[in-house]
């Protein structure tokens, strides 16, 4: 597979498939993520969406932000939506009932629709080997319903169902390693991406579309409302989360793990790895941890980040 090369000008000139005018919040990084993902389109695309922030804010009837065919059915079944679309395209083309051209299928879902309620449909769809790209835009909680914790919420984070209480300071559990779970499905392409590293993100989307069979892309997508940061800070946070190795960038092609350049640079120069505190302190959802009584949660979080980073380096054949 020869890598798709593009310039910023080419990307800028590509038509917008996810249009402006949607009703996402000011500073919504997930909306930016959707726009970037569709910039990687190589031809016709049909998209489907799990219930979630972007689904509701982009399709308020009679308006739509989608310049491509798009369908939403429910919350837990984005991957099943894609299964039906992909199977229908295949058979209708074979029978000559529709134009014989390749159509890419992209399923979008948030963390709730992926880690939690949607994991069954996702696991089933990739096991069956449907040719589609699943994009997880991870804003680390159920933002659409008002910031409730999900399997993707990090340890210690405040949400409305993991409040910063006197007894329990935020979410007691850890973030589920969803992308590694997807690699364990032995699918041809899994990657993580951050919108700060937009070129890396677009390249990975394109790779996910180009492989035959299921591809899974885990994109971190900070939410100003839910993470409690000023609306202009989303992209900066998308950088620091990578720099702290809280969200390392990597890809696994046929289960071969490989660090992506921003994380590889840290692996080669470990002193570049920033402490998690730098990431936590710019977000209100971790504010309660900066107290004497809850400082141990930060230590615990750092410990798990270090453990996972070490594990990842090992998988990538480094260290």
């Amino acid at each position: 597979m020869s890598e798709w090369k593009f310039t910023i000008k080419e990307i800028a000139e590509k038509p917008e498939l996810f249009m402006s005018g949607h009703r996402a919040c000011a500073g919504c990084v997930p909306a930016t993520v959707h726009r970037l993902v569709l910039k990687a389109a190589r031809g016709p695309v049909i998209a489907t969406h799990a219930t979630g922030c972007i689904e509701v804010s982009s399709t308020i009837y009679p308006y739509t932000a989608w310049k491509i065919p798009w369908i939403h059915t429910a919350f837990e079944n984005a991957a099943a939506n894609a299964s039906g679309i992909e199977a229908a395209l295949r058979v209708l083309q074979r029978k000559g009932k529709i134009k014989n051209e390749h159509v890419d299928v992209i399923a979008f879902a948030g963390d709730g629709g992926t880690y939690d309620i949607g994991i069954q449909a996702l696991s089933g769809a990739v096991e069956r080997g449907h040719d589609f790209l699943y994009v997880l835009y991870d804003n680390e909680a159920y933002m659409n319903t008002g910031i409730q914790r999900s399997g993707g919420t990090p340890h210690g984070a405040w949400t409305t169902t993991s409040p910063a209480g006197k007894l329990i300071p935020g979410k007691p559990q850890f973030k589920k390693p969803i992308a590694e779970i997807m690699v364990a499905h032995e699918i041809p392409y899994v990657a993580t991406a951050s919108p700060y590293y937009w070129k890396d993100l677009i390249t990975k989307v394109r790779k996910g579309l180009e492989v035959e069979g299921p591809a899974f892309l885990h994109i971190i997508a900070p939410c100003p409302r839910g993470w409690r940061f000023p609306s202009e800070k989303g992209i900066e946070i998308s950088r620091i989360i990578v720099e702290t190795c809280m969200f390392p960038l990597w890809e696994a092609i046929d289960e071969e793990y490989k660090l992506s350049p921003p994380s590889k640079a840290i692996a080669l120069k470990p002193e570049k790895k920033k402490p998690v505190k730098e990431y936590l302190k710019i977000q209100g959802r971790f504010r309660h941890l900066f107290t004497l009584e809850h400082e141990h949660v930060i230590e615990e979080l750092q410990r798990i980040i270090d453990k996972r980073w070490k594990r990842l380096l090992k998988k990538c054949g480094i260290a």
Binding site: I46, E55, Y61, T64, P69, T73, G84, A88, Q120
Partner: protein, 409 residues
């Protein structure tokens, strides 16, 4: 048009359904195994693996995904089919509403089976009755032949550009799904000709352009958007309008099918049996009607004016047809193979008493809840119902409006 010559195969109801799907040039089948539907997907898998059909068969990981995949496949333009029963249908519940709301013409066979708990694999109508408000057309077959015929008709009804609603065809679990019967099979080309290709009505897209109602890159449309208090209600009303139109289309498709297949089930909505001059009558759905007909024949031979009304199409409810059919009956026994816990009788009873409220003459209407969890509805029990109705007629008195029949009490 002349009735075509047909082969007779010994088939179970499930096999008959699978065969009908095989002949209907279905593009996508997505299904999950559940007793007593499983034979349908097993049979269909054989067709796929032996190259007898050109269908994408998706062995999904749940019924929820089965119906979802059929829905989106239909949205792309495929003819889509699935089958389920009981807990499987209950798991689909959410997507049943989404399918009808997205106006996806999916066809589904339901081998009617009791709902848990306690777990039970045998026949009753609890599974489909609970879905009567889901926006699906509901047809209940009396025998395997009718299951076969109804599946073929269902594609025509569902895909009709004025309807675009999903259709479920109920066949009683085990009584039909697993029982061998002689089934007359139409030639492949007859079914193909009868169904034709899917047609797509034109809809106005967000740019104001009229485009075919399907997901196609050349004409992008958004299906399943957020629809709030400013439009949702109108869309629901449109669904109800489509349901109303469906009554005529079901009759029309049924009539056209009768011209080639030679078989009729009443007018396609209801079937009456010795009802014209009947004084006492029962009402039922599904396979029970076969036994009832035998009982009616015997009662008639004794000079008792007994009749039967079988509701074939339960959604849309044939209100006018039922009103006319019951106009001379003096005592009606409504048989329900489902229970509405805490309600006033079973679901069919609710509808019938409701319809008769506007009738010029009010017959006695009593409810017999029977056969839950596959309990046999025997010849003896049906006789008992007619005797009960005779007594009501004689005494002009109803002792118990809702009765449970054929169980220990």
């Amino acid at each position: 048009m002349t009735v075509v010559e047909q082969k007779v195969f010994a088939m179970s109801g499930d096999e008959a359904v699978a065969y009908a799907v095989k002949q209907s040039d279905v593009d996508v089948v997505a299904a999950y195994p559940i007793t007593p539907q499983t034979i349908i997907v097993e049979k269909f898998s054989e067709y796929v693996h032996n190259g007898e059909v050109d269908t994408e068969f998706i062995c999904v990981e749940s019924e929820h995904s089965a119906l979802t995949a059929c829905l989106t496949a239909a949205a792309v333009g495929a003819r889509a089919f699935t089958a389920t029963a009981s807990a499987g249908l209950a798991l689909m519940h959410e997507i049943l509403y989404v399918t009808s709301g997205c106006r996806a013409p999916v066809v589904m066979a339901v081998a009617n089976r009791a709902l848990s708990a306690p777990i039970n694999i045998h026949c009753d109508h609890s599974d489909t009755m609970v879905e009567r408000d889901s926006g699906w057309i509901q047809i209940y077959a009396e025998n395997s032949q009718e299951a076969y015929d109804s599946i073929i008709q269902a594609f025509r009804i569902a895909e009709h550009p004025d309807i675009l609603l999903p259709v479920m065809v109920g066949l009683d679990g085990f009584f039909l799904s697993h029982t061998l019967e002689n089934v007359r099979i139409l030639p492949d080309e007859t079914v193909k000709g009868f169904l034709g290709n899917r047609k797509f009505p034109l809809v106005r897209n967000h740019e104001g352009k009229l485009v075919p109602f399907r997901l196609a890159p050349e004409n992008p449309i958004t299906i399943g958007p957020l629809d709030l208090y400013d439009y949702y209600f109108e869309h629901k009303r449109q669904q109800e309008e489509a349901m109303r139109r469906a009554s005529e289309i079901i009759k029309q498709v049924h009539g056209e099918y009768a011209n080639v297949g030679g078989r009729q089930y009443g007018d396609g909505l209801i079937e009456t049996y010795h009802l014209e001059d009947a004084e006492i009558a029962t009402i039922c759905l599904g396979s029970t009607a076969g036994t009832v007909k035998t009982v009616v024949d015997e009662l008639r031979s004794k000079g008792i004016k007994a009749g039967l009304l079988r509701i074939r199409t339960f959604r849309p409810l044939p209100v006018k047809e039922i009103t006319v059919a019951l106009k001379n009956v003096k005592a009606v026994g409504v048989m329900d193979r489902a229970c509405s816990f805490g309600g006033f009788g079973g679901p069919v009873f609710h509808e019938i008493r409701h319809i008769l409220y506007d009738a010029p003459v009010h017959p006695h209407v009593v409810n017999y809840i029977y056969g839950l969890g596959g309990r046999d509805m025997s010849y003896i029990l049906i006789n008992q119902i007619y005797r009960d109705l005779e007594r009501i007629l004689e005494t002009n008195r109803v002792e118990k409006k809702v009765q449970f029949i054929g169980l220990r009490e």
